[in-house]
Symmetry: C5
Subunit: 251 residues, 5 copies
């Protein structure tokens, strides 16, 4: 088993993710959070477990934060156009990510899409190369395609979590299926692969905390959050609330 303890606090995980600059566009940002320094500084001040960004941000911004927080590099990416079949081949290689300081690598898989096969094959290689160097591999498994009307359906989320484990992922990042029972089944389906839940669209901090309590009640590993922290009015306060729930078990 690959050691993921450097990415955890009390065996739980809170990752701060920022890939919307690539995946949606700058309209998601304001003049403060458009600057990647803000994302890193928020995560460091809050004592989170890692920041997830693409290689461009990693290379230009991470060096001054190298001693202060682990980095996870998302190896693929695509724009918001040409859905659902616009996809993300490897933009950053595993060795390249490690040279940039990454403690783990991540890759998005669109389960059920027309390019699922290439994504499985790519991630298979990511796991092979990362594990050969003792580095954890994280799979974001997002169901997507004409046969998938509801990507957050409990069966679909459990399928996504299981596929991540079958492909060799150490951590699976999946959508919230909506209930404690569905969350539990997702983690059971993934077995020894730790499951974290994606943050999703921005909601009020209170609403988000409710979701996160359910996630922890279900026994999952934690969360990968984005806009619910860096689009909020007081990111540090939001993070404190999340840490209470996730690290301290306040649920």
């Amino acid at each position: 088993m690959i050691d993921i303890s450097s990415l955890t606090t009390n065996d739980k995980m809170i990752f701060l993710a920022c890939d919307q600059g690539m995946e949606h566009g700058p309209e998601d940002f304001n003049e403060t959070n458009i600057n990647p320094d803000f994302i890193f500084q928020t995560a460091i001040k809050s004592g989170l477990n890692a920041v997830i960004v693409g290689k461009g941000i990693a290379e230009k911004y991470y060096p001054e934060y190298r001693q202060e927080i682990p980095l996870i590099i998302k190896l693929n990416g695509h724009s918001r156009f040409n859905k659902p079949n616009g996809w993300g081949p490897l933009i950053c290689e595993v060795e390249e990510a490690i040279a940039l300081g990454a403690a783990a690598v991540g890759y998005t898989i669109h389960l059920g899409s027309l390019i699922e096969a290439e994504m499985f094959q790519n991630f298979g290689r990511v796991v092979r190369e990362a594990h050969a160097l003792g580095v954890p591999a994280i799979a974001w498994v997002y169901p997507r395609g004409p046969e998938i009307p509801n990507p957050q359906d409990p069966n679909m989320v459990a399928y996504a979590a299981r596929v991540a484990m079958e492909l060799g992922a150490d951590i699976a990042k999946v959508y919230n299926p909506g209930s404690v029972g569905a969350l539990r089944w997702a983690q059971m389906s993934a077995g020894k692969t730790r499951v974290v839940i994606s943050g999703g669209d921005k909601v009020t901090p209170e609403a988000y905390e409710e979701e996160v309590r359910d996630i922890m009640r279900a026994g999952l590993a934690g969360i990968a959050v984005g806009r619910n922290v860096w689009q909020s009015e007081d990111p540090l306060a939001v993070c404190n609330g999340l840490k209470e729930i996730i690290y301290k078990g306040a649920y």
Copy 2:
């Protein structure tokens, strides 16, 4: 000839397969058999010849069972979506599988599908690399496509078995063609390549034993069974019945 004796008992084979987590989804499982440990333990307690899983399960679960039962890694896989042309490129490489402890490698080929050519080419490489290391290569040959209304037609199954041999497989895994005569012709078509029959959908243990008696009467090598063991109420009892027929010739 590659030596496959470590995968046999009395020159016959019973493999316990579990790839439904990838190929169908967790709906096939319950809270007991969703855990890959259960699959390994069932096969070990029953004294079967090998377990067939993908590399994710192999890497995270097989190490503690390494001395107790041989491992076969299925190198490709795909989800249940986008049939019939969703296909499975190599997710795990031959060397990688061997490093994970595999005693043999397997690969699925959809004979008659639009990506048959790539699958033939991929399996040709699997054979080349596995045989260079003295490791057996197993082909699952499943006819699939618009020109194939009935994949279990006796001519189609014999064709599948022959294609496996022509591509260099040491063992061929094919569908049950339904009669002793058809089973015999499938094995004759495959020549020196040993033929095992896929387990198929779950039926009653008695019905399954009837199928297996015919398989052995026809002179085949054995079976690769999945749900008919681990979805049953008493997997160990089911396996005992199969062992009588397959290893001890009770047919």
Copy 3:
């Protein structure tokens, strides 16, 4: 020039081919000739120049015949489905074929098909690798496609023979164009590349001998025959007749 003399008798060639197990299916066979041993033994007893098979048969059956008859391995293959664009990428590599004991390698090219470009490129590589090792390369050039209503048209067969030479083949295997004049022009178009004619569907031994006399009158190198020998009632007798015509000039 690559030396092909080990594949000839009196500078002429009779090759016994058996790839129908892959390209058509076991329905072409009976309980005797489904066994590749029968193919090898027929060719050896008849003193033919070589057997042409795929790598699966070569690996499992050829070792015991290694000292008795040269082997030609057909490097690509495809099933009978999805014509006309089902095609055959390399299943066996040149070095692999030589390690399996091949004295020459063969590859099928569908001149005029939609994947002609990839086939040209593949065969270009086959020639490059085979010639670097002093091994002859044989091109089966079969015209196939919407612009080709009659693959056996004399102009089409001469084109096929010329393309084989242009791509670097040492021997070209083409369809029978039907007359001595057309056969002569095919060989002239191929120049220093030796032309052999494909056996085609099964006809009576007498009808086949008539075809073969014309082939030799036209000055070609010989034949690659399959079903007209191993589907016949008395393969050895058929071969004796062919040898008289081809090696001894009885035409």
Copy 4:
């Protein structure tokens, strides 16, 4: 951070680009400027920061100018046909460009097109290879596709600039979004990646200077100009005007 100071004057940039021979055709040229020597000499006499050309012009023309002005080689290119999906794979490799004397390499990305994925992947490799050798990588990011009615929309240009940064570019070359506010937001979105604006169609020198003043007021790095210099009646005079604005801050 890769050092780009050799491409700047007072931390600003004016690049003279000439790829229309490939991307539009010789109809854009006259008997004077069809000769690449004219392009190099204009840039050298004007004291600009670099010339941007493809590898053909670089190899045949740059050697005599090697000591006099830096060279940027554009690694991909395509003709004017088959828009919008005609695209440009790598024609020149990074190491090859450096051997030809390039101080930086550039690559065009059509954000939003059907081959965006391959372009992202290609540019990811360009960055990896260039940065390993300490060489800057420039992304020309041009939005193009059915979902993009206006490539110069301010949100689209900011997205293009951000994507360049996310992919690892040191300099981003984007379209003019039309206002100082939009230009500022594009540079903010790109963060530490320096943004230069593409020259566009030929307009009067006065009109072009107005555009350039806004570009500099917005705090961008500079411009990549083509036809507005070498299609003008007095290229040196046009360059002097641009230098006043860009190097000396006359806006």
Copy 5:
């Protein structure tokens, strides 16, 4: 600059080309010129600058002519079927061509076709590999596609010549645009890349000489001629006439 002087007489070029066996078929030939020896002997007796053939003819026929005339190998080729998108990937590699004795390598590019991108990329590699070994690279640039009603339009021919130069070609082979002015502009567009004109369909020797006088008046490098020499009644006489015009300036 790569040295091409070994391919010239008085700095001019006459190449004898024979690829119609692959690109059209043997119907273009008679019993004399179907034999590649005739092509080589014609070129040698006439004292031309080089013969252009594919690798099959080069390997089997060129060795005895190695000391007598330079060889140019055309690296790609395709049949006459499936136009306009049948295309020619590399059948012969650069190193392979040089080992076969080639003094230069050539590659066809269909400017404007749907596979233009792959052809640009392939030729970019051909240039890279050939120039690394000091060997000239020749681009045949033939406009082809739905946006190109007239491949011989003067603007199209000048575009073809310019694209050859932009891709790194040392010599460009293009269609005849029909007037001295258009020929001059094509050569100007190509700059330091030498332009030769393709021979085209067979016309009378007198008509062909008229075309060639215009080509030389326009200042081009020379011609690549095929059927107008080897389909003529007296190839040596035709060549003498061409030499007067091209080497001796009789226009």
